[in-house]
Symmetry: C2
Subunit: 558 residues, 2 copies
């Protein structure tokens, strides 16, 4: 069977007016702020009115470590949402917003795929409702206020070598990674080294996704550390009186975006922080609203479960008081074969032995998620090259771990291809088996928290760090930030910090190169290896192929 | 009488649903793309369907040279639109979109004032429908593609010293005026000097405002010159295959934004290029659509008539084939007294002699506009400190020049205060007195065009320029750009290039410091003196006072 391209499928979607989608879940039209006829924000006053309602069950979709073969985590999240609706459940989907910049590089869109997509996919992948532009503006306003403050006399006594706030742009632009700014003489300020990150790496993005409401947002913005004095005491965004204007710029962006799946089921697509230097989940505002509007909420976390699910549990669920009822681990036979040592070019051939060898990656993620007290089920995202023997091998492996594994054909068939998973997820979530607990308590030292994640999730023998890193962690604790969770920035391709170690590596240690405080977002970032916060474009960027056709439709976005 | 602040008035506006405003001028609901309940874009297909309709009469609102006393050009544009509707005419207003960055500096909003405003003023002054964010993204995508092309081998042979495309951000940020980018080693590219302008200074902004439709937009984007080879041949955006993706990013931004005045009359607010290095008018798409939807269209041009009206006539009207029926020159007694030598602190006291002396500024603008074959009327924008004797003096002065001058109280009274002007403008526009012609023909040399504007409009004795500037102009002509109009970037405060020469200076010459080619927009920019394309923030920026109040309303924006 030939499935058309994602954009072709999306273009022929029979979308309902967004007001109708809203009314399906009980949002009155006057509580929706339309952006076109097929996107809307949910008004802040309606969100406040939801406070007292009972909450539905939260289901996390996560995955094995990503490989170039592709796993389909977003696609499965959308498919499962459609599947739950198909079997008569009131279900909503919560996704992250895609970043604009990577669309022009190599990455395709991030709105699902095949017959499991959210639409309008072109809008969602491009400007959408302007949330990321608002975050960029708020972030860069703060940056401009810092340099402006120094220009006019530096009354707050910034140490120019210790300014902690860079600028952002939602574009893959390696030329902006490291710059010297304020050149050109007296009227342009004091030259200093700085640079740009991509917008999804902004602490403002993480804050927007972790804030409970506008007041919390403004308080968190004010708590951002923008730099240090020579005596190393921190200077906050509120010291620059930046928090009010930043909150004004983010007022609309704080409202969740309602869209629909190809099957006209409701989805919130809201916020999208990095899953390495930030926590990688959609906004708390969207998730909490969805839980009060639906009986089942399917959401996803970034990268594989070692990075994404851990941060979802230890940062998002901890902060928001969320108690997930079940987790789905997405795996593909192709990706597990890569984990078992098969080269990408050979993935089309049956190889049950390699698949079995690769299953250790899946197995470890299952073990890990159970440490949070959350029951697990495996979704095998079907590819046409998969053989029956391979499917049987993965089901057997999962069953040996005491979990179900279900073959899903949502990419090619939509909800009809994922009914079994939807039924089993419903049963699992309703079993009340879940007893969610974060991996570590707030009162552990920051280093002990890092060690706990390294040991329990990454299965490292230990953590290594220069004395300066340990000293920095102690300084954060002395400043009162010891109670924060940690956010470890590590390669997504391996449990270890070495991207080439696939499967379930052991015997490694986790080298912490640098630690940073995201005081507004409320976590301490521990960085291992080289983590890029500004991607580059490839030799032949997809921007060269993106254009309008004669009908005014967008081509080349996928 | 105490008039509340602009934001207080705007907040209490009795806005109609934007679909209702659209239906007032015959735009069906399905042809409007809503952004909230009070803003909408007009769909491209509806715009195409307007092609054959007869056009209404176009009225330009311009002003004397701006002073710190304030003239109220946008306020008068809005007021006149309301006034025309009040006396039973089908009238629309076309305004520029305000820039986000300056809102956080010293400048107030740009949506009119008092009882002559377009609303929702907070939205219009902040993100609005995202047009400027889209322009920023398209501009910076092109910049990223340039450095990426060089990074991957520079097949187009860019001379790194002659890259003509900077980056933009919609923020007042002097630290970005001059930077060295691509620092940090091999993986970040080749270090080079560059910088950022504010978004309104982007050639993409000028292109969006001058393009007739999406195809024209894409062609103009492709024609942007991004740099030169060592042999000085130009490299175009289309050589980087950037035009398609840029057009995709600008697809929605090309559709005019419909809002309403406080009196529920329709207004397009669309596009906002600088009025020095660009032409300073709202989009051709919006103006042409308005002319087909209404019998009278009131629009404005940037700064005073020497800069704004000249560019409106010689660039916008020439390119779009528009034939304005009348021009309104806005003056205030306070501003004319400043032109007559009175200090700002003394403007509250009657001073008929100084007023008479300052009227020469008004008189010269009247003469100038008549050179374009457009009949003129003067709007005296009333301030409470104005005396009867002063009003009489200015009316007498205008009458001596053969034009009407009408006292207008729209700021305090809305349309009720501007009925007389509305009636006289109607009569003037209906008189068929207008016989529009640009100031110079396309076939004049570029230098002769500059000299013509300098002589006829600025009343300079001559133009001075280094040999290198003359050589550059000849090079543009040799490359086939000799037929373009010129866009002179000069201080807005004086007819001359010296901002301290108020009134109607003579005996000066116009020094051209630099010329630049905006090949996509389609004009040659001639720069006199220091023209800043990236503003800075003041010592105490208004960002410090902008915040949300307990009701979630925006404070500090005015």
């Amino acid at each position: 069977m030939i499935v058309p391209s994602d954009i072709e499928i999306a273009r022929t979607a029979a979308m309902k007016p967004i007001m109708e989608i809203g009314s399906q879940i009980g949002i009155p039209a006057q509580s929706l702020v339309p952006y076109g006829h097929d996107k809307a924000k949910v008004s802040a006053s309606f969100l406040r009115s939801l406070g007292a309602r009972p909450e539905g069950k939260l289901i996390l979709v996560t995955a094995i470590n990503p490989t170039p073969a592709g796993e389909g985590k977003t696609t499965t999240t959308v498919g499962l949402g459609d599947g739950l609706n198909r079997i008569g459940k009131r279900a909503m989907i919560c996704l992250r917003e895609p970043s604009l910049g990577p669309c022009f590089g190599v990455k395709g869109g991030a709105a699902g795929g095949g017959y499991a997509q959210v639409v309008p996919m072109e809008d969602i992948n491009l400007h959408f409702t302007g949330d990321f532009h608002a975050i960029t503006a708020a972030h860069n306003l703060l940056a401009a206020l810092i340099d402006n403050h120094i220009y006019w006399g530096n009354a707050l006594d910034f140490d120019l070598r210790r300014i902690a706030w860079r600028r952002v742009v939602d574009m893959n632009d390696r030329a902006l990674r490291e710059i010297v700014g304020s050149l050109g003489g007296v009227s342009n300020g004091f030259p200093r080294e700085t640079g740009f990150d991509i917008t999804v790496a902004s602490e403002v993005m993480a804050i927007l996704c972790l804030a409970e409401d506008l007041a919390d947002l403004e308080a968190r913005l004010g708590a951002i550390i923008v730099g240090y004095r020579r005596d190393k005491t921190p200077i906050f965004a509120r010291d620059l009186k930046a928090d009010g204007a930043m909150a004004v710029l983010l007022k609309d962006a704080m409202q969740p975006n309602l869209v629909q799946t190809l099957e006209n089921n409701p989805a919130f697509v809201h916020g999208g922080p990095f899953a390495n230097i930030a926590h990688g989940c959609n906004s708390i505002v969207a998730t909490k609203a969805a839980l009060r509007l639906a009986d089942f909420v399917v959401t996803e976390a970034g990268f594989g479960a070692d990075l994404g699910a851990e941060k979802f549990f230890d940062i998002k669920c901890r902060k928001a008081g969320l108690r997930p009822a079940a987790a789905v681990v997405v795996a593909t036979i192709r990706a597990l074969k890569m984990n078992g040592g098969v080269a990408k070019a050979d993935l089309g051939r049956e190889n049950v032995d390699a698949l079995r060898a690769g299953c250790v990656n899946l197995g470890r993620h299952i073990e890990n998620i159970r440490k949070f007290g959350v029951p697990v089920i495996v979704a095998i995202n079907h590819f046409s090259s998969d053989t029956d023997a391979e499917v049987r091998a993965i089901v057997d492996y999962a069953n040996d771990q005491g979990v179900d594994a279900v073959l899903c054909r949502h990419w090619a068939q939509g909800s009809a291809g994922i009914v079994e998973l939807a039924e089993k997820v419903t049963a699992l979530a309703n079993s009340c088996e879940a007893d969610f607990r974060p991996l570590y308590g707030d009162d552990l030292s920051l280093m002990a928290k890092i060690e706990t994640v390294a040991r329990e999730i990454y299965r490292a023998d230990g953590v290594t760090a220069e004395a300066s890193v340990l000293e920095q962690l102690r300084a954060f604790e002395a400043q009162g930030y010891g109670g924060l969770p940690v956010c470890i920035a590590k390669t997504q391709y391996s449990f270890s910090s070495d991207p080439s170690l696939l499967g379930a590596p052991t015997g490694h240690s986790l080298p912490i190169r640098e630690v940073r405080l995201s005081a507004g977002a409320g976590f301490v970032v521990a960085i291992t290896g080289e983590i890029r916060t500004m991607p580059g474009l490839p030799r032949s960027p997809s921007a060269e192929r993106i254009a309008l056709n004669e009908l005014g439709q967008i081509e080349g976005l996928f």
